[in-house]
């Protein structure tokens, strides 16, 4: 058995909002090419944990190692480690939001081209060509000139996925990507995510779509009250021994 390469490692991540600690000392390893699924009851800290992975939330304590680089507050007494700025992590990690967060004042094409150009530079034409190429992959090239308000929720989320992918991320984070969608639009978004998983992209997905989680998840993480309660591989849904996780799975499947 070959040792998988660790892409992201969280050590001792703590996060408080005001006086409430929402993440208590989380340790987690994400291997390159793996598809991690985080699930659990609402308020368990799933989204906060995901948002710590690109430092949209800065942990109060703990370290995030991504490839060779260290992020987060870490061990403050150790000056040897050169801690990098959040923007350097964000440029390698893509994120898809529950509410899509497309830029409403830009066409689908420019929703991809604007951030691409602002991060990579180059001409508007090059950025737009790259954008068109990415939109084609999610089957939305024909709608590239449309504004977000002219797209369905499912289409908007596919544009958002294409936007994150256009910057060639090493890791993709999905924060309940289908929770804001009408039921009949969920399928098209999951389809794009399934293709992405099959292409070998490393993914971390916070979701309530347990069937989808079961299908793609090779690292399943059950969270409750700011703790990782149980983790397991692809067979987690069948072989899990943790009572609370079993109970949760039973109630949603």
């Amino acid at each position: 058995m070959t040792q998988s390469q660790v892409l992201m490692e969280l050590t001792g991540v703590r996060k408080t909002f005001g006086k409430v600690e929402v993440l208590h000392h989380i340790d987690l390893k994400i291997n390159k090419g793996s598809h991690a699924v985080i699930f659990g009851p609402s308020g368990s800290g799933k989204s906060t944990l995901l948002r710590c992975m690109n430092l949209l939330e800065e942990p109060d304590e703990g370290s995030i190692k991504f490839m060779q680089d260290e992020f987060g507050p870490g061990d403050k007494t150790n000056k040897q480690v050169n801690r990098k700025k959040p923007i350097e992590l964000r440029r390698k990690v893509g994120m898809v939001f529950q509410q899509f967060n497309l830029f409403p004042h830009l066409s689908a094409l420019d929703n991809l081209a604007l951030p691409y150009r602002s991060v990579r530079g180059g001409s508007v034409k090059d950025a737009q060509e790259r954008a068109a190429h990415e939109l084609k992959k999610v089957g939305l090239l024909k709608l590239a000139a449309n504004y977000p308000s002219e797209l369905s929720g499912g289409q908007q989320q596919r544009v958002a996925i294409a936007r994150a992918l256009s910057l060639d991320p090493e890791l993709m984070l999905f924060d309940e990507p289908t929770s804001a969608l009408d039921p009949e639009l969920v399928g098209e978004v999951l389809g794009v995510m399934r293709d992405l998983a099959e292409s070998g992209m490393t993914m971390v997905v916070v979701t309530h779509e347990m069937n989808f989680a079961r299908e793609i998840g090779d690292l399943n993480v059950f969270m409750e009250d700011g703790n990782v309660v149980a983790t397991g591989g692809a067979d987690f849904f069948e072989s899990c021994t943790n009572e609370r996780a079993k109970q949760f799975i039973g109630s949603v499947l």
Partner: protein, 250 residues
């Protein structure tokens, strides 16, 4: 002695036509001063809005104080300060035009500060987060995502404010700016036809308000998502053609 009657009133409406060139020139001056002040105070107002939302208390405190002071000062007082006060204190004279622009900018940048602050706060925080998650810098996020959206939200308010700015130029008669009211005063001292002349002045202000409303409504259409209206179609035609070319060649 008391005749008890009323003297026959002779409205000399022809004066308006006779002096249309002077009145129109006065209107152009008013528009010129207020447009210069609008452009500067939009920029200053946006800076103050950012300052007001700053994490640093000293910066936000300064902006808050500025807004509360200058929002409360009448245009007449402001222009007297700038034109006469500055000259007395520093021995440097602004031209009448400069004094007018500065006076309006001092007042209206405080209004625009508040307009932009509320507009920026109306943008969902996901917009900023999306920009951050994509690895954009703070400056780029502001310039390309937050500023355009906040300006769109603010446009109707900016239009109303601009009409107010033009009206406030009427007080600049006091420093001798030959704008609408000054022209009216001059004519009135010759003909003593206050009702006719000031009605004409009012008519000019109302007419320009209609024009400004028309312009701002078109700007609003052009800034809609997606842009609407014939003017925006015309302005965006080249961009659209190039996007269509990219789509068809991919």
């Amino acid at each position: 002695m008391d005749e008890g009657g009323v003297a026959p009133i002779n409205f000399m409406w022809h004066l308006v036509w006779d002096y249309k060139a002077e009145l129109f020139k006065g209107l152009l001056t008013a528009v010129g001063v207020s447009i210069c002040a609008l452009i500067i105070s939009l920029a200053v107002g946006m800076l103050f809005a950012l300052a007001r939302m700053s994490r640093y208390k000293i910066v936000s405190g300064f902006a808050t104080a500025y807004v509360n002071i200058f929002r409360g000062i009448p245009a007449l007082v402001s222009v007297i300060w700038v034109y006469f006060g500055w000259s007395l204190l520093f021995g440097h004279n602004f031209t009448v035009f400069q004094a007018g622009v500065i006076a309006l900018t001092l007042l209206y940048s405080s209004f625009f500060c508040e307009i932009f602050r509320s507009a920026l706060q109306a943008i969902p925080k996901g917009q900023r987060e999306a920009g951050m998650a994509l690895g954009m810098t703070r400056g780029k996020i502001f310039k390309s995502i937050l500023a355009p959206q906040s300006i769109k939200i603010a446009i109707p308010n900016i239009g109303s404010m601009y009409i107010g700015m033009i009206k406030d130029t009427s007080t600049f008669a006091i420093i001798g700016m030959v704008e609408v009211v000054r022209v009216t005063q001059n004519l009135n001292s010759t003909y003593f036809q206050p009702f006719v002349l000031y009605t004409a002045a009012a008519g000019l202000y109302v007419a320009i308000a209609f024009l400004i409303d028309f312009i701002f409504r078109n700007v609003e259409l052009n800034m809609a998502y997606p842009p609407r209206g014939r003017i925006s179609k015309f302005l965006n035609r080249k961009k659209k053609a190039s996007v269509e070319k990219i789509i068809s060649s991919t």
